[in-house]
Symmetry: D4
Amino acid sequence: MSARIWNVYLSGEIHSSWRQQITEGIRQAELPAELSGPVTDHEKSDRCGVAILGDEERPFWQDHKSAGINAIRTRTLIGAADVVVVRFGDKYRQWNAAFDAGYAVALGKPLITLHDEALTHALKEVDAAAAAVAQTPEQVVEILRYVVAGELP
Amino acid sequence: MSARIWNVYLSGEIHSSWRQQITEGIRQAELPAELSGPVTDHEKSDRCGVAILGDEERPFWQDHKSAGINAIRTRTLIGAADVVVVRFGDKYRQWNAAFDAGYAVALGKPLITLHDEALTHALKEVDAAAAAVAQTPEQVVEILRYVVAGELP
Amino acid sequence: MSARIWNVYLSGEIHSSWRQQITEGIRQAELPAELSGPVTDHEKSDRCGVAILGDEERPFWQDHKSAGINAIRTRTLIGAADVVVVRFGDKYRQWNAAFDAGYAVALGKPLITLHDEALTHALKEVDAAAAAVAQTPEQVVEILRYVVAGELP
Amino acid sequence: MSARIWNVYLSGEIHSSWRQQITEGIRQAELPAELSGPVTDHEKSDRCGVAILGDEERPFWQDHKSAGINAIRTRTLIGAADVVVVRFGDKYRQWNAAFDAGYAVALGKPLITLHDEALTHALKEVDAAAAAVAQTPEQVVEILRYVVAGELP
Amino acid sequence: MSARIWNVYLSGEIHSSWRQQITEGIRQAELPAELSGPVTDHEKSDRCGVAILGDEERPFWQDHKSAGINAIRTRTLIGAADVVVVRFGDKYRQWNAAFDAGYAVALGKPLITLHDEALTHALKEVDAAAAAVAQTPEQVVEILRYVVAGELP
Amino acid sequence: MSARIWNVYLSGEIHSSWRQQITEGIRQAELPAELSGPVTDHEKSDRCGVAILGDEERPFWQDHKSAGINAIRTRTLIGAADVVVVRFGDKYRQWNAAFDAGYAVALGKPLITLHDEALTHALKEVDAAAAAVAQTPEQVVEILRYVVAGELP
Amino acid sequence: MSARIWNVYLSGEIHSSWRQQITEGIRQAELPAELSGPVTDHEKSDRCGVAILGDEERPFWQDHKSAGINAIRTRTLIGAADVVVVRFGDKYRQWNAAFDAGYAVALGKPLITLHDEALTHALKEVDAAAAAVAQTPEQVVEILRYVVAGELP
Amino acid sequence: MSARIWNVYLSGEIHSSWRQQITEGIRQAELPAELSGPVTDHEKSDRCGVAILGDEERPFWQDHKSAGINAIRTRTLIGAADVVVVRFGDKYRQWNAAFDAGYAVALGKPLITLHDEALTHALKEVDAAAAAVAQTPEQVVEILRYVVAGELP
């Protein structure tokens, strides 16, 4: 009945096309949903701190400056989201993805995790806090389509 | 004075036409109110989990998957509601309706219950937490008309 | 700089024209403010409960039903307000006005009280919780004009 | 089962012995309850501001200073209370009592009001927000005895 | 490592001995846990309102008065609990149990449900919001033993 | 992806043109951001209390009245902000700027501080609570451009 | 009536004996109050970061490390306080004192400011947010004595 | 001044002796601190779900049951903690550690991270949210000693 816009935050892996697949799926399903996420240009994300606020000798403080600026974006958008989707890939440690998941859950946001079955045991605590555990971007789109529009495949 | 839109969530019984009656009453009264609610197609609601995320052998996990996905919708919309109406019918146990009522009250949402007089004793704790206890959909429409527009029958 | 709409809730006395004076002042100053308040038709406010939900023998429950329905409106609008103005007249006890003031303060809403100087001692606790204590509707309009638009008389 | 101590805040009228009656009733029933309340010495309560912080010419600021100091006590103790009892007498306007009631309700504290039947209509909004409406201190003691110890008269 | 006392609230069915079984299990396991719950004497719970505050002609208001007083106890103790256990039996509608579950979940309290397998489908939304779904009081004791003391059967 | 409007509150120094520089930078970058801030006309800000609500003999109460009215604006806009920027100049004590910073941080708002390097030691606690520490208005614009639009210089 | 312990946090100036005077006054008045505050050894407070976590070349990061560690203490103790007292001296900028005041107010803690009359205009926003404005440590003790024990000088 | 007990939650790696080292350091420094943490027996932690609630065929649901029970413990203790320490080792993905960090930060708990310098870049977002970043358990003890007792090495 409601014509509300759903805000969906897409956190996690930035080296595959899963965000585009979800975006395209949302577009095709014509769902009233706005997607948001972190800055996904890896290099920009890493160097924004020193690029704007000046260089640092130690890598720790280089990272610290960038992470502070990125957090302005990520925490604000997670705070404004209705649903948070977190994607875990099989490369990298992606601790920020798990951090976002914990942050979202503490705020009471419904969490959808997205990862291959091979990561099931490693992600058991995160998955147990999720409203749904998906393995493909298509499943995330289907969940959103059902949640927003009440439609099933 | 205010031209605000009121968000009203309609929780509970899905086997009678009470939602349509309230929707039609709101439309006729031309109230600035947006109604929302769960997915009311019983079968979809039951099988959304396995339909999207894959089958399960045990009925418990079939239900668990569906309930998780439904909760994304219901908790988000209750959280965004100004007023929550919960309808109890005389069939089924409808524990999810009572769960929604408790959830809404803990969030500080004004609650309107809707049920026959015969259920009065069984619902005494829920009714005592409600701002109003109605017996017909028409009464719910009248409450909303008064609350939103200041008009009485 | 901001073009935001300010929501102002006007609580309290319903037997004088102070709401109209503030409404007119806001209109003349062309402030981006939306005013809201309780249903100010005293009779409707008193009998909405029995008119909609059926009569009661005891006056206590007549009042109880009406007060519950009125609270749906007042608490929702106070919760959505940026600023709460509470007017105390010299007649009646107006405990609901003081209740609204306490309710608003606990929610962190800035409170403006409006009353004659003669009531100063009786209202000392309420006034001490207020951001401003006005004696005329014109002063309330001037406060809002300054707060919203940065203009002084 | 639980051996917890219940904190009960007694707000309102300071010119009758209702607090002593409740205190004595709690003592006789040997309930694990700690009672708290405002400073009930009217003169001290009125002049604490100027007595400590220096005199003011205008009565408004005399009251303002005292009310600020009293609020340190009352808001802290209401915030720490499990249950808030508010007594309305038939003299004085007692707007601070109604303010405390609204403040407590917004914090989610269960409210018990205590007043004569003659005040029913004037207190309808406050009573509708209360978990119980008592007419005598004995009833308040009985409510607490039942709530804390599960015993009825 | 920690010597903290865990507060566990036991909500729901009052016509079987499940609370005693959990209490005894906690005692035998020597867990630092304090159990609390509603007044479980059915008749007292039903008539506390009229017994203390005076009779009512209509059963609805009799129930209403009792439910208000019972809510002072139940909401306070749920609010103070670390863990909330809700038992659903096969008799009665037990809407208050489901209401308590929803209330607890909205407050962020970990929920343990306790019911026979036959109720699985009817309780799917409530179970999906639970951290654990038990079928026997012994399992609840084992969960608490593990959570509090890190011991398994 | 998101087309949301970002609300940015600019607190602190009112005697230099830093707000205009940020406003102009936001305009040139065509960012979807709305800027807000206190009334920056120093004289108006100081005398709004007495100008609207009547004069006071003691300067303390003159200031008190004005500060109360200014707080209606500043706290409301900080509460509605996504990001709070606080500028510290080298003149005046600017305790209200540091107060706003503490207020914003307690509300969970991301904080950007803006000040010369010479103030680094004096501002160490405030800077440590900030997501970013800038030295020029251009840097603040660049941070916002990156946060809102993902673009780097 | 209540025997509760009051937690009072003493923020601000560390170069005079005001904390000792308040501590001694509390002791003499035999008030059930526990005082807390930041580490007041200026040198320790400045170098704790590098002393524990290793040196930094840039003074900014030296300060940053220390401020982070100090914040663990100050925010935890302010969060646990019933009342927050903030002392402003006439030396140094003391932005951290004003930051603490803003932080405390946003958490809803009653604030008492303590400063000479000469600082009145500079502190007007902070004072307007305070429940009481004192000029001497003795006055703070008297406020606490009245608030805690109901006694006046 | 204060004699309060500090609650410190130790999250993360369970395959090295860092918890014992911190516990021993706290003991030697005689700090009034209580340490808590997850069940650190890896096998118990993995099989608690099926051991108590019955076996599952699919590993996903085995993990799910255990994770739910473990979450009762971890979320309750993090919620009750004053400070949260999260240790990242160089083995395993430890997404639950990062999840706990995000959860703690969203609750406003001061976070201390503990990891080797080699993990600095991978942990930049988590570290940026921390009040302190330590590399050895001894440093964590020193931070706590300073925070709790004001003593430096």
